[in-house]
């Protein structure tokens, strides 16, 4: 009995050993195989980590960030935005002109262009695309706003597109609308629900090859791209739900490019081998929106905003009481550009210059004086009062966002210094968004991504952008309404002389600054990193100190080329058999092994 028992145990041990060996050897031989299948073209595949939502790759309907970023690479627009300063540059059209009123825009297209399937690309494709968006609701979901002002689109010949607008506009109407091939899309039964998720036909530098939900997106170089075929073969987006995992993935060389890092992640990776970092000046702004007494289009006020904030002086006092520079250095760890108004400084031409007389800095005395003037007198506890009411404000923040929570921590004592009691109301992002829509706030932390032309962002600061009487249709940035601002907006909207338009935009921004419906804190940097041992030649937008991902245009990855072969030899990713045995041993020791050894020792005691 004893012998049989022992034998059985030995057999068990033997089987376990065989299984373990099989696992170790099997796993150990595998990387070699996996590497050989991949290595063939791997050096020309740019792998980018992403966690972006994808509904489809239909440029008419998709509005998520990853698909729209991909469209910029897949479909050339009539005119594009340059890498240098993001202003209008040639796209499908080489030159364009407008009548004196800015109502009729005529574009001359480059001759002999081809789609990626070798079919000719003509003005007919452009007109067809625009007309589809103008005529069909289901195709206007993503970019319908851009053609709302289009009256008709005509093509006198294969190289000419004439856009007639309903009302004049100074902003070039050929921007940001992906032009699709008529010969492909006109044959699709229901273009509104077409996924377009494999083998796309387009005119940009890369075409969508395949898409596997939550796994990968593969884009292939387009040899027919009019600026010339890219030097890499493929862009492959790989899914990483978690940004910390993305950091590990670039350390291990599983991906070549990551973006959107936090300052902590960025600092952790700065010293890593073969990883190059980029602090890109971004096209976003972040700020504090102050409820100026939100109202609907008929001036009926709604929401719970503190009445004190309807007074411009109180809002200005809040701005003067915030030490933005200290905040930027402490909270953003200096990974942000100093700001004036809501047009970021990367759009140098449009942004409100820092030397504009209206721009003011941190000044506690001025803040106190403004509050005194507004009739808020300091009470016994240091908090100001007026008509027996204390000046208490709520500050709405996203509880998950470290930056917002830290901002609130700095703001509370600063506001107390000038006599305002600030209460941080941290909540989830959905609650914040719902409450701000209802006007149920005094101040909240806000942020926007800004396109190269300031027209849209100025537009959502006009009185017209406020919601209708039912609370619907509101797109307003801060609930701001000032007839003077609206006049300036309308003037710049149709001003064709760029110098004059720039001046009008600055005036509008200055007016907004003066009225202070929001305090722009900074323009955050986009923190990025790439594997310098594998690729070089990323183009930034703006080229001087700009961003690589999320550009307005297709510059970032189009110019990328593989790094020199000798640099690439040291790359990680695979592991030898030794490593695998190590893992197996570690796993056994950690989970069961320790117990097993102890168990053995005890067993001999049992046998006595």
């Amino acid at each position: 009995m004893f012998v049989r028992h022992k034998l059985r145990r030995r057999l068990g041990k033997y089987l376990a050993g065989v299984a373990a060996m099989a696992l170790v050897t099997g796993v150990a031989t595998a990387p070699a195989q996996a590497e050989t299948t991949e290595a063939a073209d791997d050096s020309k595949v740019l792998r980018i980590a992403t966690d972006g939502f994808i509904d489809s790759f239909n440029p008419f309907t998709s509005f998520y960030l990853l698909p729209t970023n991909s469209f910029r690479y897949m479909y050339e627009n009539l005119v594009n935005n340059s890498a240098e300063d993001a202003q209008v540059t040639e796209g499908l059209a080489t030159e364009w002109d407008t009548d004196s009123a800015g109502k009729v825009w005529t574009y001359k297209m480059r001759p002999d262009m081809k789609w990626s399937d070798d079919e000719p690309l003509t003005s007919k494709d452009v007109a067809w695309t625009y007309n589809q968006m103008m005529e069909k609701d289901e195709l206007s979901v993503a970019n319908g706003g851009l053609v709302e002002n289009f009256d008709k689109v005509e093509t006198p010949d294969d190289q000419t597109v004439v856009i007639t607008l309903k009302k004049p506009q100074s902003n070039n109407p050929g921007q940001e609308i992906p032009v699709v091939p008529e010969h492909v899309w006109s044959k699709i039964d229901k273009p509104g629900v077409f996924k377009n998720d494999k083998k796309s036909v387009g005119s940009g530098p890369f075409q969508l090859e395949s898409y596997e939900a939550n796994k990968s997106v593969t884009l292939k170089a387009n040899p027919n791209f009019w600026r010339g075929a890219p030097k890499i073969d493929e862009i492959q987006y790989r899914y990483y739900t978690n940004s910390d995992a993305q950091v590990q993935a670039i350390r291990s060389g599983e991906v070549d490019f990551i973006t959107g890092l936090t300052p902590e992640q960025f600092k952790a990776i700065e010293g890593a081998d073969n990883v190059e970092t980029n602090v890109g000046n971004g096209r976003r702004f972040q700020g504090i929106s102050i409820n100026p007494g939100v109202a609907d289009a008929k001036n009926n006020e709604f929401g719970t905003g503190n009445k004190a904030l309807k007074d411009k002086k109180v809002r200005q006092a809040i701005r003067a009481g915030i030490d933005v520079d200290t905040l930027r250095k402490q909270v953003m760890q200096d990974y942000a550009q100093p700001a004036t108004s809501f047009i970021p400084s990367v759009y140098e031409k449009w942004a409100l210059p820092a030397d504009n007389p209206v721009v003011s800095g941190f000044d506690v005395d001025k803040a106190k004086k403004l509050l005194d003037e507004a009739g808020w007198k300091e009470g016994s506890d240091g908090i100001r009062e007026k008509d027996g009411k204390k000046l208490e404000l709520r500050f709405l923040t996203d509880s998950d966002a470290t930056v917002e929570q830290n901002t609130a921590k700095f703001l509370e004592p600063w506001m107390k210094d000038i006599g305002i009691k600030l209460k941080n109301e941290a909540s989830d992002v959905d609650t914040v968004s719902e409450r701000t829509t209802k006007g149920d706030y005094d101040m909240y932390y806000s942020g926007w991504s800004i396109n190269p032309d300031p027209d849209y962002q100025l537009g959502i600061n006009t009185c017209d952008s406020r919601p209708d009487a039912d609370g619907n249709g509101g797109t307003s940035q801060d609930g701001y309404c000032n007839k003077e601002f609206d006049k300036l907006y309308k003037a710049q909207h149709t001003e064709l002389d760029e110098k004059k338009r720039v001046d009008l935009v600055h005036q509008a921004l200055a007016q907004h600054y003066e009225d202070t419906p929001s305090v722009t804190l900074w323009y955050p940097n986009q923190l990025e990193a790439y594997r310098s041992d594998r690729f070089t030649g990323f183009t930034k937008q703006p080229t001087d100190g700009g961003i690589i991902a999320n550009q307005v245009g297709y510059w970032g990855y189009s110019s990328v080329e593989p790094a020199k072969a000798d640099d690439a030899s040291g790359q990680g990713g695979g592991m030898g058999a030794g490593g695998w045995i190590g893992i197996a041993v570690a796993a056994i020791v950690v989970i069961g092994g320790g117990g097993f050894l102890l168990n053995r020792r005890k067993k001999s005691e049992d046998r006595e």
């Binding site: 009995m1 004893f2 028992h5 595998a30 195989q33 996996a34 299948t37 991949e38 966690d51 939502f53 509904d55 489809s56 509005f63 609701d137 289901e138 979901v141 319908g144 706003g145 709302e148 629900v193 996924k195 596997e212 939550n214 796994k215 990968s216 593969t218 790989r238 990483y240 739900t241 978690n242 910390d244 995992a245 950091v247 590990q248 350390r251 291990s252 599983e254 959905d430 609650t431 968004s433 719902e434 829509t437 942020g447 619907n472 797109t475 990680g572 990713g573 592991m575 490593g579 190590g582 989970i591 069961g592 320790g594 117990g595 102890l598 168990n599 020792r601 005890k602 049992d606 046998r607």
Partner: protein, 372 residues
């Protein structure tokens, strides 16, 4: 002892066979009470057979009630959540009011809530869980697509965790208060208390980023055929870290249950008898104590399987595993209402069914409950 145990499945098979008839009867609240005692076919067994059917119907009724609550809650709970999916999309993106209205009508959000609820109810009964806002695909198809990876991950983790937990648990119990017991129990409890998210990230950092032994995310290297040899090995490589994380965090519960139930058995007289027969300690443990201690453990295991699938949410989020958990995690930040409803209903249904199975299995396995 053995005889009733063997004969029981016979009569139980009787009512069991009649179950399809009893099943629909269960939908009619009046029927079950009459049916059980009303048909005493076997003079020996009537109270048992009757009580089993009653027990079954009671459990089925409970499960059904839970399911109805889940369906109702699934709709209203997510709608009560703050946040408007359309406004969320419209934020940080140039959109005109006309575009926003078009989107609202595409999502069906312009209809009154009661109409939306009716559509949802009809949908559930016809197996149509609506269309995801983000993926623009039927939710039921999405769930089927993502169920595979989740099952692979959770089944692997469950088998290892259960095996490991039960094995260590019975050894610990047998050598109660020994060094082995202390080490095994406390180690397992330490892992049990560690946040899954944290443990996953630490493993990811050590084995993925620093040592670069294992991949940092996903299920398979893009471009590999999952059914080729290299593909299978690649999937195994991707499986190791998430499985270790899941196992480490959950195996304690199996260890503890097994340990407790074996300790209970250890004071039983039949073990003394077994020892008196001259069996070795190992044989006493393996042949007598463990099989009996397994009974209550099995039901606990069943009850935890449903929870395991739901517990995959965190692990999938850390390791970018393309499964149901990741789908849910992302749907919350959408908020992708139909997808949230769908996964909520499916996850809940899995747990309810597993609990029901646990109740039934318990009854079959444990003679004490059967006789009670």
């Amino acid at each position: 002892m053995t005889t009733p145990t063997h004969s029981y499945p016979g009569p139980a098979g009787g009512p069991g066979g009649g179950d399809p008839a009893g099943g629909p009867g269960g939908a009619d609240p009046g029927a079950p009470d009459l049916l059980g005692p009303g048909q005493p076919r076997d003079m020996d067994e009537p109270p048992k057979g009757g009580s089993f059917l009653g027990y079954l119907l009671r459990k089925l009724g409970g499960a059904l009630t839970s399911m109805i609550l889940v369906v109702v809650l699934g709709f209203f709970a997510f709608r009560m959540l703050p946040g408007d999916p359309v406004l969320k999309i419209a934020k940080e993106r140039p959109m005109s009011p006309a575009q926003i209205a078009e989107l609202r009508s595409q999502y069906g959000l312009d209809k009154p809530v009661i109409v939306q609820f009716w559509d949802y109810l009809v949908g559930i009964f016809t197996g149509d869980l609506g269309e995801s806002y983000v993926y623009r695909k039927p939710v039921s198809a999405l769930i089927v697509d993502y169920l595979g990876p989740t099952l692979l991950l959770t089944a692997t983790a469950a088998v290892i965790a259960i095996g490991l937990g039960l094995w260590l648990g019975q050894l610990s119990a047998w050598r109660r208060n020994s060094l082995f017991d202390k080490v095994a129990s406390s180690t397992s409890l330490v892992f049990w208390s560690v946040p899954t998210f944290w443990l996953g990230l630490i493993l990811l950092m050590i084995f993925g980023g620093t040592l670069q032994w294992l991949p940092t995310g996903g299920m398979i290297t893009p471009g590999l055929d999952p059914w080729s040899f290299a593909g299978i090995i690649d999937v195994i490589k991707h499986l190791i870290l998430p499985v270790i994380t899941m196992v480490a965090v959950v195996y304690a519960q199996f260890l503890m249950v097994m340990r407790a139930s074996l300790i209970e058995e250890m004071s039983e007289d039949y073990l003394t008898t077994a020892r008196a027969k001259g069996l070795t300690e190992d044989e006493v443990r393996k042949k007598h104590a463990v099989p009996n201690a397994l009974l209550p453990t099995v039901t606990v295991v069943f009850m935890h399987i449903g929870g395991l699938i739901a517990g995959a949410v965190t692990v999938e989020a850390v390791f970018s595993w393309p499964g149901l958990g990741k789908l849910t995690f992302e749907a919350i930040s959408g908020p992708d209402l139909p997808l949230l409803q769908g996964t909520f209903v499916v996850f809940s249904a899995i747990i309810i069914v597993m609990n029901l199975a646990a109740d039934i299995v318990y009854r079959f396995l444990d003679p004490r409950v059967r006789r009670a």
